[in-house]
Amino acid sequence: MPLSAYQIAEEPYFEPQGGEVALFSAAHALRQPVMIKGPTGCGKTRFIEHMAWRLGRPLITVACHEDMTASDLVGRYLLDAGGTAWHDGPLTLAVRHGAICYLDEIVEARQDTTVVVHPLTDDRRILPLEKKNELVRAHPDFQLVISYNPGYQSVLKDLKESTKQRFVALDFAYPDAEREAQIVAREAGVAKDVAVLLVRIAERTRNLKGHGLDEGASTRMLIQAGRLIKQGVGLAEACHVALVLPITDDMGVRETLSDVIAACA
């Protein structure tokens, strides 16, 4: 099996927020392309890993970036001893062998790159490899998933309308306080009351979105802070290095964050 390396053996821990597991399963049954929206560090990647495991599909993840070309996705000829040989890119691999292909932060890629997914995400379900002169029909198990952070786009960095409209979307937010504390306690290995406190702090930093912060502290940040606390670092210091310093360089905003954190505990 060519994709065994992409198979997920252990259950990735995922705390559902709502109906997303059922919704995704339904979309998967139809092989509908799915877009997952949500702020950074809210569990999008974890969710997809969990779903791939649950559905027993291999998962191929591509982190998109600006310099990515269509060849980086579909593949290219490489030189070898005997001449040239075609190497499938990650997308082609998933299409041929039936994996879930997860394009993380797809808006980072240029629009002329992202259009390669178009023929895969309508009824045709095909991937033309122009350079190789091949038309790959998608394996029945292939599914495309993209993630997308609506907060960070500028007007010029957005998905084309024709790309957007091919997907069904799941909208993620940070989990509610109860669940988030559960997640932090489990992932960081800290006591519940510490996790509750970290989540309370996070909620306050999220209030500062638009008041000097583009985004409040993510679940991921809380887990980092929690892990430091587990190592014996004090709460204030852990919050300082894991939340305050990474999130902003503005001295005034840092001061506010410290004051707000002090009010929480």
Partner: protein
């Protein structure tokens, strides 16, 4: 219990004793941080301002709030440095607790002033308890301010004020032992009523009772000299439905400002303009010294116009007129920049990135540090097929050089006076703020840029305003011209675009760019065919391309898709649905366009 005679009210204990201090941090510098603090703690938004009528008052100052406006004293007498910093935080945290957990105002009805003060005190304690439940750290912030008066147990000063300060502490810190039955009664009843805290009637009843007790004990209360304790609490005015003066309007600044400038500018005193401008660095253009009236328009050029019906260019059809720029204080621009620190910060960040330049991946190079795989494969295939291969098979990264000149062309026609849905802010005021942010950022990059604006009054009067020229800095002179810009009239875009193109084409930079910001479709009083000016503008854009000038448009009209893509071509414009976002978007657009 021994009580002092009311006549001997010792006011010295009511006021902190230190003399007026010299310069503390001014309130205006604290406000952005305090506003953030309020938002962070409670997710609440309020307008923070200085208490009006500062200075020389006998009464100690307290914060005061009225709806969503929070007034803060310029300084707290006797508090400085670190303690002053904490006091302001404490004050904002307390007022915020009212905003977050408060409810409808109390009706004074037949209550006596002492009862009103007591009910307020109970309400203060209630909202603080609720706040501390969510934010336990606030206890540490508030606690130190309770001590001054409340710990004074000397019978001689057991005035109503002292008793109330002690009650405030007893409610804040109920575990402290009390030697005064009235205080104990107040504390116990307050906490016994906890399940009914949601009911405003419960506190009202308790406050009235406690007030009656004090009355029976013949403790006198002077509402004229009474000051709420501890010092971080507000004056309670926001809790009561008194006959209030109308609340100060929110966000009225831009309008009021505009009016003020207008009137101040009306009679342009001869020489006044020079004096105003002389404050800044010298202006390379002689315009500011010319005696022209800002409204005396002089023809400077004629431009052709495209008649799409006839399919021909009408030569010398539109007359470009210019006048001495109007000015207004350059400090206004500074104020717009400061009014949106978020935008300024994000923009600065963006520009910092842009300045560094971003490595571009240069493919198909004759030499380089990496093989360009696609090119190499192509070459190998060509070789094998017996063709002459293209030997440029390398790839390298290079920092892109920035060598560009941009002219920002603003449509300042009448329609920009429209207010943005449901607010008092006009499109124009957002536009000039956005331009201020962009200009301040551009001044940082060192990119050459000019700022021009246009409107029109028929083909004989296409008004062209030069706010900033390529050669001059974005200094006081340019700033005061930006501040002096006023909207009006129509949008003959093609003619203005041709002037702008000519100006940009004159620049020696590698890349020349005209960035048009417009809020609507081209139109003018002497044109009835709606397609006519659109087609003419389209033609002007094509001419620009021929002259090596790129034109890009930012449209503020949600429904502009059709004509914008007709004029500028698909991909050469963006639409911004929410005009308020323009200050944020404009620099982003610039950075994306120019890298």
């Amino acid at each position: 219990m021994t009580l002092s005679s009311p006549a001997k009210l010792d006011t010295s204990v009511l006021l902190p004793l230190e003399p007026e201090e010299e310069e503390e941090r001014p309130l205006s510098e604290r406000i952005p941080g305090l506003r953030r603090y309020l938002a962070g703690l409670y997710g609440a938004r309020a307008s923070l301002r200085a208490l009006p009528g500062e200075g020389g008052t006998q009464v100690a100052r307290r914060t005061s709030f009225d709806g969503r406006v929070l007034f803060l004293p310029e300084a707290y007498r006797g508090f400085r440095d670190e303690t002053a910093d904490r006091l302001y935080l404490a004050a904002v945290a307390h007022a915020g607790a009212h905003l977050a957990f408060g409810r409808a105002r109390f009706e004074p009805k037949s209550l006596k002033p002492l009862q009103i003060a007591l009910i307020s005190l109970l309400e203060d304690a209630r909202v603080e308890w609720l706040a501390m439940e969510a934010l336990p750290g606030l206890r540490r912030l508030w606690r130190p301010f309770h001590d001054a008066l409340a710990l004074d147990k000397d019978g001689a000063t057991a005035t109503a004020e002292v008793l109330m300060a002690r009650l405030a502490l007893a409610l804040f810190d109920p575990a402290r032992p009390l030697d005064n039955p009235w205080l104990a009664k107040g504390r116990d009843m307050f906490f016994a009523a906890m399940p009914e805290w949601d009911d405003p009637g419960a506190l009202r009843l308790l406050g009235s009772l406690l007030g009656n007790d004090l009355g029976q004990m013949r403790v006198q209360f002077n509402s004229k000299t009474y000051v709420v304790q501890p010092v971080y609490r507000d004056d309670n005015a926001g809790l009561w439905e008194f006959d209030r003066p109308p609340p100060p309007e929110e966000d009225d600044t831009s309008l009021a400002e505009a009016v003020r400038i207008e009137t101040r500018e009306k009679p342009p005193e001869p020489g006044e303009r020079e004096r105003r401008e002389a404050g800044g660095e010298s202006d390379p253009r002689p315009a500011s010294l010319s005696p022209l009236d800002p409204d005396q328009w002089i023809a400077v050029a004629r431009m052709p116009e495209w008649d799409h019906g006839a399919g021909r260019l009408r030569p010398d059809w539109a007359t470009i007129v210019e006048a001495t720029p109007r000015t207004a204080p350059a400090a206004l621009v500074e104020r717009w920049l400061e009014a949106r620190p978020d935008v300024a910060r994000r923009t600065a960040g963006l520009i910092r990135q842009a300045k560094v330049g971003r490595p571009a991946r240069l493919r198909r190079q004759g030499e380089g540090d990496r093989l360009d795989l696609d090119a190499a494969v192509r070459a190998a295939i060509d070789l094998r097929a017996g063709f002459d291969p293209d030997t440029r098979v390398f790839e390298r990264s290079a920092l892109s050089e920035r060598d560009l000149a941009m002219l920002v062309l603003l449509d300042i026609s009448e329609s920009t006076k429209d207010t943005i849905g449901g607010t008092a802010t006009s499109v124009f005021s957002v536009l000039r703020e956005a331009v201020a942010h962009l200009s301040a950022a551009l001044a940082e990059t060192g990119d050459r840029f000019a700022l021009h604006a246009f409107c029109s009054n028929g083909r004989d009067e296409v008004r062209y305003r030069r706010v900033k020229e390529f050669a001059e800095p974005f200094g006081n002179a340019a700033r005061s011209r930006l501040a002096g810009l006023r909207p009006g009239l129509s949008t003959r875009m093609g003619a203005a675009l041709r002037v702008a193109t000519r100006e940009a084409a004159r620049q020696l930079s590698h890349r020349r760019l005209v960035l048009v910001v417009t809020d609507g479709e081209p139109s003018d009083i002497d044109v009835t065919d709606p397609a006519y000016l659109v087609e003419d503008a389209r033609k002007a854009v094509q001419e620009a391309a021929g002259a090596g000038v790129d034109v890009f448009c930012v449209g503020l009209d949600k429904t502009g898709e059709t004509y914008l893509s007709r004029i500028f071509g698909r991909g050469n414009f963006v639409q911004i649905g929410k005009v308020e976002m323009l200050p944020d978007r404009l620099p982003q657009i610039y950075v994306r366009l120019t890298r």
